[in-house]
């Protein structure tokens, strides 16, 4: 029963991990960009919710309705005005630029928010629903539900809409996309906005699921990285599955090897995938 409980916890937490990976996956899939500041964007969403909106007494859903578009604008502007300038000049410039963004954001948060631990106080955090001998933690159920909804929304957006077709064409072959009349810089900015908005959603869930600090972004980025690589570069469904795998591995490690082994167990899965299936679980083929 304990094993089942751990698996359930892991799968549900995997929804959040998958969501954390989705933003990075979009950046990589469409811009071929390794966005080293994605973790900070997630944490920024968390701070925005906990420090900026909750004290105003806004209900969570209303607050989310503010955070998501605000983060879209942040991601859009970063891509349009900063990252775009570094693209198309080789591998290194975008890495340096996003690394710099990560440093700036992390230290700005430290300056303005101090290093204090924060969390979103919600009755959901400690609530659980009994289900046939195990307890389903409600907050993680929310993590999973929201993560899965974001994945579904993204699949519909990319697979069924004109914007999605243009984004995929841009990802496939930016030059030919331009000759079709697609303003690829604009598409990149939209993709950057979508990725940051997803990061904002992940940040809000992170705030409700655990404590966070200005430095949490680095841990988040590491999770995002492993999730994306495990899942298969460029596949968003794979990213989500990768999130579940990583979370299950972490919780199994923590449960059976000891709490300090959680991260190690996750890294082990990451290394095993790199060793035996370096293309990831679901390498990119078609949309999704």
């Amino acid at each position: 029963m304990e094993l089942v409980q751990t698996l359930v916890n892991g799968v549900l937490l995997g929804g959040l991990y998958g969501l954390i990976g989705l933003g990075l996956s979009i950046n990589f899939g469409i811009m071929r960009l390794v966005h080293l500041a994605h973790g900070e964007l997630v944490v920024l969403g968390a701070y925005f919710l906990v420090v900026g909106l909750v004290p105003l007494g806004l209900p969570p859903l209303v607050a989310a309705a503010v955070v998501v578009p605000a983060m879209f604008v942040v991601g859009w502007a970063l891509q349009r005005f900063i990252i775009q300038r570094a693209l198309g000049r080789g591998v290194l410039p975008p890495l340096i630029v996003t690394f710099g963004l990560s440093m700036v954001m992390q230290n700005a948060l430290l300056l303005w928010m101090t290093a204090d631990a924060r969390t979103l106080h919600t009755p959901l955090a400690s609530a659980g629903a009994p289900l046939g001998g195990i307890t389903v933690p409600l907050i993680r159920l929310v993590d999973f539900g929201v993560g899965l909804s974001c994945l579904a929304a993204l699949l519909v957006l990319l697979g069924r809409t004109a914007l999605g077709r243009a984004l995929r064409a841009t990802s496939d072959d930016p030059e030919t996309a331009r000759t079709m009349g697609i303003d690829t810089a604009r598409m990149f900015a939209v993709a950057g906005g979508i990725a940051a908005a997803l990061g904002g959603v992940a940040g809000m869930l992170l705030a409700a699921t655990s404590t966070f600090y200005p430095s949490t972004g680095s841990e988040v980025l590491l999770i995002a990285f492993e999730v994306v690589v495990v899942g298969g570069l460029g596949s968003i469904t794979g990213t989500f599955v990768g999130g579940i795998l990583l979370a299950v591995a972490q919780l199994l490690g923590a449960r059976f090897l000891g709490p300090s082994y959680a991260l190690v167990a996750g890294h082990m899965v990451f290394l095993l995938v790199l060793l035996f299936r370096p293309q990831g679980l679901m390498p990119r083929t078609a949309p999704g």
Binding site: A169, E175, T176, T184
Partner: protein
């Protein structure tokens, strides 16, 4: 409309240190077809890319319908009415055949200036029935000839007044090539002006009103196609 639809004037272009186009000039009236003939490395693809806005020219001008295109980005040039069928077809691999067409149609469905749409996916499917049967398949699963049809269909959905076709028949069987030229004939019948690259000199001459032979980035020979003999063109081809 007076004056040529397309005027290329003393166009220079470089690939790094290498000069790919040297003062290339020609004109083309609306509704006519121009065959661009030349060996590999003669500058044909660079010329097309420069007209379409993918390659920034170092000097000279491209004037379309009386307006200079200098420096316009490719996505704006296609809105003016110049569509490119690129070398190698460049089908979007993660999009199905139908989506490859839709991605072009999406952008050009709404036309300004009261222009009506001439092309639809339905009309492209009528022109190339093979594509209709393969509509749901990934675009890159098609045969070479079908990919060329898809690339042409996709370009038509950009509602071009000028269609640039780089390497119409490269690597395709004679039957497929014949079908493609039949389709290009119908496209011309719609009033679309055509500039195309053809390695088969006889076919290029037969299908065009004008011919331009490029050799190492310069125009070696230009004129009305019927007035040029195969022999003349072949000499220009090999320099």
């Amino acid at each position: 409309m007076s004056g040529p639809l397309l005027r290329v004037d003393a166009l220079d272009a470089f690939h790094g240190q290498l000069q790919a186009l040297r003062g290339v000039s020609f004109e083309l009236a609306a509704g006519e077809a121009l065959a661009v003939i030349g060996a590999n490395g003669a500058g044909k693809t660079t010329l097309f890319r420069a007209i379409a806005g993918l390659h920034r020219a170092a000097g000279g001008a491209v004037v379309f319908d009386g307006e200079p295109l200098g420096g316009l980005p490719a996505h704006r040039i296609v809105r003016r009415g110049i569509a490119l069928v690129p070398e190698g077809r460049r089908i979007f691999p993660s999009l199905s055949v139908d989506e490859n067409l839709r991605v072009a149609e999406d952008r050009h469905r709404r036309r300004g200036r009261g222009q009506s749409r001439r092309w639809s996916r339905e009309r492209v499917y009528q022109l190339f029935p093979d594509l209709r049967e393969a509509a749901g398949r990934p675009g890159t699963r098609l045969s070479g000839g079908q990919q060329q049809m898809l690339a042409i269909g996709r370009a038509l959905l950009c509602e071009p007044r000028l269609l640039l076709c780089d390497e119409v028949s490269l690597g395709l069987s004679p039957v497929v090539v014949r079908d493609l030229y039949r389709a290009l004939g119908r496209i011309r019948g719609e009033g679309v002006t055509l500039v195309f690259v053809e390695q088969d000199v006889a076919r290029g001459l037969a299908f065009s009103d004008h011919v331009v032979c490029l050799h190492r980035g310069t125009v070696r020979l230009a004129g009305r196609s019927p007035a040029r003999s195969l022999e003349e063109v072949r000499r220009a081809y090999f320099g």
